[in-house]
């Protein structure tokens, strides 16, 4: 039995870390304004609303108006944060995001909760499994899903320095804390969480902790995994990816998202063009989720640490058979 590295570790939903970071940001940057569509207690923007009522605009259940109003605010030199659930931020207000925000490259940061299966028992209507793929396809967008509280704080603070919109994907459910309170973080630069020569596991968001658990399981069998926290899926850190893939020659991607158009696709695009490498994608296999417990859903849809480890074994096997021929 392998020890659970996250046993007893504090777990906080990244949406909570977002709400706290917004207040921190609001104190130092008077340009920051927040637009909300009637779920501030869930997205945690209520914290900003309490601290800075004048800079908080609750537009009601009207995400399309919210997105375009934030665009208007950004044209006046303000930095706007728009919060809702990922399904609505990426889909209900998608064309407003594309045409009114991304096209003129305005400083509107879209911070959205309920990423993938982290919405668990709310079911499909509230589980965004397409959002990263949709927003990644829009030019001028930066797309980030931090894995824990400290990296969420870093993402929020860094987003205001980016020229143009940043999509920040957040979790409903608590995530184990991986990073210390202060550490080196840059949007667009992957973080190597573990060194290994046998297989690369590239993970994003809530799948980072599953990747680390999988790496522990593999280590017990003598397999050493290189684990990358690819918190930014666009722009993808191709340097870190290619360096690791050149070393391990076997890649597994892990994301709480459809396997289409998200992290796995981004990694496959880069490897395919530059360094074809045996790979496997972990994610929802082009299916909707359903209601259930979070851990239960990860297992049911093939996203648990066990599935990640199994994919790693498989891809290593393919690497070996390729080198034999």
């Amino acid at each position: 039995m392998i020890a659970d590295r996250f046993a007893g570790v504090e777990r906080i939903p990244t949406r909570n870390a977002y709400g706290q970071a917004l207040v921190e940001l609001g104190r130092v940057d008077p340009r920051v304004v927040v637009f909300e569509a009637d779920i501030s207690k869930s997205t945690q923007t209520y914290r900003f609303a309490e601290a800075f009522p004048d800079r908080f605009f609750n537009v009601g259940v009207a995400e399309q108006n919210m997105m375009a109003a934030a665009a208007g605010a950004a044209t006046c030199g303000n930095i706007a944060f728009v919060s809702t659930y990922a399904v609505f931020g990426s889909m209900r207000a998608c064309e407003q995001l594309r045409t009114s925000v991304a096209y003129p490259k305005l400083n509107v940061n879209v911070a959205v909760s309920h990423a993938g299966l982290t919405a668990y028992d709310d079911g499909v209507t509230h589980q965004a499994v397409e959002d990263m793929g949709i927003v990644r396809t829009i030019p001028n967008m930066t797309v980030v899903q931090p894995c824990d509280g400290p990296s969420t704080r870093k993402t929020v603070l860094a987003a205001v320095e980016i020229d143009g919109p940043v999509y920040i994907r957040l979790t409903r459910i608590g995530m184990p804390t991986i990073y210390p309170a202060d550490f080196d973080f840059e949007i667009g630069r992957a973080i190597r969480l573990r060194e290994g020569k046998d297989v690369t596991i590239v993970a994003v968001g809530d799948m980072v902790c599953q990747a680390l658990l999988a790496a522990d399981e593999l280590a017990a069998e003598g397999i050493e995994a290189d684990v990358l926290d690819m918190h930014t899926i666009k722009p993808l850190d191709e340097t870190a990816l290619l360096e690791s893939a050149a070393k391990t020659r076997a890649v597994v991607t892990a994301e709480d998202h459809n396997i289409l158009n998200g992290l796995g696709s981004a990694v496959a695009e880069t490897l395919g063009e530059t360094l074809p490498t045996p790979m496997r994608r972990i994610g929802l296999r082009d299916t909707f989720g359903e209601s259930g417990g979070y851990e239960e859903l990860l297992k049911h849809f093939g996203l648990s640490a066990w599935h990640v480890a199994n994919a790693a074994r498989g891809v290593i096997e393919r690497k070996k058979s390729a080198s034999r021929t």
């Binding site: 375009a68 109003a69 665009a71 006046c76 009114s100 490259k105």
Partner: protein, 277 residues
């Protein structure tokens, strides 16, 4: 660069509008595409704003205290481009490049390419929200600017317009003015055929707006409405301006056909004969 004095009288406004209608038609003709009908219907309302009402500095397009204009019906941009050029925001030579590769004048307005444009528009239904965001920031920063948003009548079919209308009433944005270019034609037919809008002023009033109905080609009425809107302090105002699609060119007036196509050489010639009297 050629400039025309602002703060002009009604006769001068009428004359500028006539000239800019000519510019817009020539641009669309040369581009081989564009929207003459909605450019001509909006001309008098836009000219009145830019040459009389708005507080702007054409030599300083990013001046933070400038009044903002949002052409939510972005397809009417030829008349706006002609206006901005005449005011000196950019050289008039650019007008000949409309819709051409590399042009600063895109088929629909791109704020990052065209000096003087305050927003990127062309996807109907979004402009009032954008203007609302600007108006909210004006209040927040205590800057004295006003925000003018021009909507098409067909555009009012979009649900987002009414989301923005509710929200502007909530925040009492009296620095926000909506102007409806009410030419009563949309792409597929009349408003009544496609999506009836009346009673339109009752709709806006019930959403918490001050509503004013005018003839959108009567310069005295236009200026009076703008003045009334400025004096209304309780909240946002909408001017429902009845206009004629294709106004000024007899064979384009009230014709569905002229929503989105360029005149031929011959058609341009006859249009100019009417406008150049």
């Amino acid at each position: 660069m050629e400039h025309i004095a602002r703060n002009t009288d009604v006769d001068s406004l009428r004359e500028i509008a006539r000239q800019l209608r000519i510019d817009a038609l020539k641009m669309i003709h040369l581009a081989g595409g564009g929207h003459p009908g909605g450019s001509l219907s909006a001309a008098d309302l836009i000219v009145s704003l830019y040459f009389r009402v708005m507080n702007i500095r054409p030599g300083e397009p990013d001046w933070p205290d400038r009044d903002r204009f949002v052409l939510s019906k972005g397809h009417g941009c030829p008349i706006l481009y002609a206006t901005l050029a005449r005011l000196g925001y950019f050289d008039r030579a650019h007008l000949d490049t409309l819709r051409k590769l590399g042009s600063i004048l895109q088929g629909h307005p791109d704020m990052k390419r065209t000096p003087g444009l305050d927003t990127t528009t062309g996807s109907l239904g979004q402009g009032l929200s954008i203007g609302l965001g600007m108006a909210l920031m004006g209040k927040l920063s205590a800057r004295p600017y006003r925000v003018f948003v021009m909507l098409g009548c067909g555009e009012l079919d979009e649900g987002q317009v009414w989301e923005a209308a509710m929200c502007a009433a909530k925040y009492k944005t009296n620095n926000l003015l909506a102007i409806i270019d009410y030419n009563q034609l949309q792409l597929d037919g009349t408003n009544d055929e496609i999506m009836p809008l009346e009673p339109l002023d009752d709709k806006w009033r019930s959403f918490g707006w001050n509503a004013i109905r005018i003839d959108g080609h009567d310069f005295e009425a236009i200026l009076e409405a703008y003045a009334q809107a400025a004096a209304h302090e309780q909240g946002p105002t909408v001017i429902i301006a009845k206009t004629v699609k294709g106004k000024g060119v007899s064979f384009m007036e009230d014709q569905l056909d002229w929503h989105g196509r360029a005149p031929s050489d011959k058609q341009l010639e006859s249009a100019l004969r009417e406008l150049e009297v």
